[in-house]
Structure formats: structure tokens, C-alpha cells
């Protein structure tokens, strides 16, 4: 799909929709960065900011949905245009959920700020966060440039996030078994890791939407998965 619409207002509407989506992705990325830093540095102030800013993300999702509905009603988009509008609606939904996960991380940061930090956990969580942020970057880039090959790369790299989640799961489990007083903070850290893992999944779903918008096809369900945290594996029973 290339070339401009004969109705230039159609192009302007689509550009507006894309601009809002990019702004929303930027806010989610910032929330994720801040939530991670707040966790690692015990910064409750920064965590509070993440919780406040989530309202802006939610408002942008509403705005995008309204604009998309208006565009469908007035312009009746077809083919590639229609797929693009549908994908923007879905992507904004995923971004909104990702924002919620960042907010949830910020809440838990408050709860564990007083506890001495489990040694290796913050470093692994930070690495995990960096990985999902990089994936987010890539998937937004893939959306903007309508590059399905790049979106496929993002899908494939989610396996790394899953692996990191597995390893931190094991670490936290070990801590909890050794010292029951660590159970509460470790549970919170585990939920944070799970949040990051879920954010990775949403990023992958966004990649699926990009592939649909560009190629008109739903990617197969054969992407690499690496969640190996079944109880049986861990306890060896």
C-alpha cells in the first residue's frame, strides 16, 4: 500500500491516529522505565509518579478509540486502511494493559521498599525490563514503518523474556525456601517479574497486529515459548 489518498483529510486523520498511538507508546515506555528505576533504587516518589501518569495513558486510549470510531464512520476505510485502523484500536488496548502492569509494579515497590532487597533479583528484573523496553521500541518502529519482518523478530525475541522469568522464578523460590521471612517481599518481586513477562506477551500481540495490518495474515501460533516453571520441574517430584 502506498501513495496518498485522493481525500487528503483521510491521510490527516490516519496520521493523527498514528501520532496519538506513538505518544501513548512513549508514555508506556517511560512508565516502565520509571517503575523499574523506582524498584531498583527504592524511590517511592518516582513510583508515585508512575501511578499518577497512568491516567494519561488511559485517556489517550479513549481518545484513540474515539478517533478510530469516527474514522470508520466517516471514511469507511477498506483493505489496508481498514486493517491499519483495526490494528491501532487493538494495539492501544495492549498498551493500556502494559501501562497497568507498570502501575502495579510501582505499587509493589512501595510495599517492599522497607525490606532489605533480595540480592540478585533487582539486576535480573532490570535486565528483563530492558529487554521488554527494547522489544517495545522495535514493535512501535515496526508499526510506524509497517515492517512485518521486524514484527516477526519481536515475536521471536519474547522467548528471552520468558527465560529470564524462569530464572528469576527459581532464584526467588530458593530464597523463600531458605528463609520464610523473605516470602512476602519475594512474592512481590515474583509478581513484578510476572508483570514484565506479561508486558512481553502484550508486545508480542502488538507484533501480531502489525503483521496483520501489513500482510493481512494472522501469524501462526508457533512462536517460541519458554515458560518452564511447572512445579514438577522445580521440585523434581
Amino acid at each position: 500500500m502506498n501513495g496518498e489518498h485522493i481525500h487528503s483529510a483521510f491521510d490527516r486523520d490516519l496520521e493523527q491516529l498514528q501520532a496519538d498511538l506513538v505518544r501513548m507508546a512513549g508514555l508506556v515506555e517511560q512508565a516502565l522505565r520509571d517503575a523499574t528505576n523506582a524498584l531498583v533504587t527504592h524511590d517511592t516518589e518516582l513510583a508515585a509518579k508512575v501511578r499518577r501518569e497512568d491516567k494519561r495513558i488511559d485517556a489517550l486510549e479513549d481518545a484513540i478509540n474515539e478517533e478510530a470510531a469516527r474514522l470508520i464512520a466517516l471514511r469507511a476505510p477498506l483493505a489496508g486502511d481498514m486493517r491499519l485502523v483495526l490494528s491501532v484500536i487493538k494495539i492501544s488496548g495492549h498498551l493500556e494493559r502494559m501501562g497497568d502492569y507498570a502501575k502495579n509494579m510501582a505499587k509493589r515497590t512501595d510495599l517492599i521498599a522497607d525490606h532489605p532487597m533480595v540480592e540478585t533479583a533487582p539486576a535480573v528484573l532490570k535486565r528483563m525490563a530492558n529487554q521488554v523496553i527494547a522489544m517495545m521500541h522495535q514493535v512501535v518502529e515496526a508499526h510506524i514503518s509497517q515492517d512485518s519482518a521486524l514484527a516477526h523478530e519481536v515475536r521471536d525475541s519474547d522467548a528471552e523474556v520468558d527465560q529470564m522469568y524462569n530464572s528469576i522464578f527459581r532464584v526467588l523460590l530458593t530464597y523463600m525456601m531458605e528463609d520464610p521471612r523473605q516470602i512476602a517481599p519475594c512474592m512481590h518481586l515474583h509478581f513484578i517479574a510476572k508483570n514484565l513477562e506479561r508486558i512481553g506477551d502484550h508486545t508480542t500481540s502488538i507484533a501480531d497486529q502489525v503483521i496483520y495490518a501489513v500482510d493481512g495474515l494472522r501469524p501462526d501460533e508457533d512462536r517460541p515459548k519458554a515458560d518452564l516453571t511447572s512445579v514438577k520441574d522445580l521440585t523434581g517430584s
Binding site: M1, N2, G3, E4, H5, I6, H7, F10, A76, P77, L78, A79, G80, D81, M82, R83, G216, L217
Partner: protein, 255 residues
């Protein structure tokens, strides 16, 4: 979607208007009991191609049609085929409603009369009523059948013309932009009718409205510069066309 058998088959059809090569090598199968839409920019050849199916182009001296067009396996350009008989089998509805300057009744009765489809008045009455009912206009005109057809509203006139076209029991109905002169309500009524008609006929419709093609047809063919660029399931063409020219046309882009 289940595929109905091909009612109309065309193979390597070319149409020349004098020096102009209007249709270039079009091969396609049009299924029975299905609405097939022809879309494309003005001058792309879709109407010309439609008119090949009931040999309307015969009336134009400089027009030359080559290739094969068959209906139910029978070559309609065969010398033994009588175009008048062919057109009874292949009805046509035009862009602007064109009722005869006669009563509503006579508009519909005309075809069956000249083709000798009714033996007496009672049979003719029956044919007229049936056609008007199928044309979804019976309830609106049943009390004024003797009034002139030209006195009806545009939408009613078009439905009257459709009733007139189906009164001779055709097997195929060709429609050349049947709604372009109608308001949205009348358009919806005609579209609903087209959708109904597919249960009995093979309907081929030329339209400039993408939305109309999407609403009424199951198959869509996109024409461009005399060539048939793409032909497939309507939902496929409008959600994920294969050819860039189709995409550019239906999304309203400068090609």
C-alpha cells in the same frame, strides 16, 4: 463459502470499439445464484464487459467482440442464437430507471406478452403480480396498477424496472449501476432486493460504490484499463486484496 457451479464462462474475451481495445483478454467464471460485482474506475471496461453477456454490444456497429462467452455451456455468440431469445434469459437493469410511458401493469406485462408467456389475462395477471412481488414493490402499487409507471418515485421506478426485467423469468440479471440515481433509502430497498434475487438468479452488478459492492455481492471482479486485474471472494477483495492496483482503487489512493 460453497461455490455454486459456473453459470457464465468467458474465455479470452476481447472487445474493440473501432481502434480502441476496450476489453483485453478477460477470462472468468460467474457462478450461478450468486451476486457478482464488477468494480473499477470509469472507462475501465466493466460496463462494456457486462454488455457482452447479453450481446447489447451487437447494436453498436464499430464494436467487435472476440473470444468465447458461454451460458450453461452454450456459446451465446453462436450464429444460431437469437439475441432476442438470449435477452429474455439475460435481463438487464440500467443506471437510470426507464419505465415505458405506459401503465405500471403494462410495463411488467410487456415482456411476457411479446414472448407469449401467458395464454390469457388471468395468467398474465398472475405473472405481473409475481414479478411485482419479487421486485418488492407490489404493496406500494397494487392499488394503482393502471397509473403510469413514470409517475412513481425514482426508487419505485427502479424496482418497477427490476420487476419488468424478471417478469420474463430470466436466469441472469445484469445491472449497470442500478442505484446511482437513487437516494439512500431507495438504494437500501434495491440492495435488499438484489440480495434476495440471488436465490433465483445469477446477478451481475456494475457499481461505482465500493460499499454497495461489499454489501450485496459475494464475488467481486476489479477492472482496470480494460484488464480484469483481480477476481475473488468479496470479503477477501475488500479486506486483503492481492493486487496493488486493487488496493489503491478501493482505498481511494492516487494510483
Amino acid at each position: 463459502m460453497t461455490q455454486n457451479r459456473a453459470k457464465i464462462r468467458t474465455e479470452g474475451v476481447n472487445v474493440h470499439y473501432g481502434a480502441t481495445h476496450a476489453i483485453k483478454d478477460v477470462t472468468l467464471d460467474i457462478p450461478d445464484k450468486t451476486v457478482t460485482a464488477f468494480i473499477g474506475p470509469s472507462g475501465c471496461g466493466k460496463s462494456t464487459f457486462l454488455r457482452c453477456i447479453n450481446r447489447m454490444n451487437d447494436t453498436i456497429d464499430v464494436c467487435r467482440v472476440t473470444g468465447i462467452i458461454t451460458i450453461d455451456g452454450e456459446d451465446i455468440y453462436d450464429r444460431r442464437i437469437d439475441p432476442v431469445q438470449l435477452r429474455r434469459k439475460v435481463g438487464m437493469v440500467f443506471q437510470k430507471p426507464n419505465p415505458f410511458p405506459k401503465s405500471i401493469y403494462d410495463n411488467v406485462a410487456y415482456g411476457p406478452k411479446i414472448h407469449g408467456l401467458a395464454r390469457n389475462r388471468a395468467e398474465l395477471d398472475e405473472i405481473v403480480e409475481k414479478a411485482l412481488r419479487r421486485g418488492a414493490i407490489w404493496d406500494e402499487v397494487k392499488d394503482r396498477l393502471s397509473e403510469p409507471g413514470t409517475g412513481l418515485s425514482g426508487g419505485q421506478q427502479q424496482r418497477l424496472c427490476i420487476a419488468r426485467a424478471i417478469a420474463t423469468e430470466p436466469e441472469i440479471l445484469l445491472m449497470d449501476e442500478p442505484c446511482s440515481a437513487l437516494d439512500p433509502i431507495a438504494t437500501s430497498q434495491v440492495e435488499e432486493l438484489i440480495y434476495e434475487l440471488k436465490n433465483n438468479y445469477s446477478v451481475v452488478i456494475v457499481t461505482h460504490s465500493m460499499q454497495q459492492a461489499a454489501r450485496v455481492s459475494q464475488k467481486t471482479a476489479f477492472f482496470h484499463l480494460g484488464t480484469m486485474v483481480e477476481y475473488g471472494e468479496t470479503d477477501e477483495i475488500f479486506t486483503n486484496p492481492r493486487d496493488e492496483r486493487t488496493e489503491n482503487y478501493i482505498t481511494g489512493r492516487i494510483g
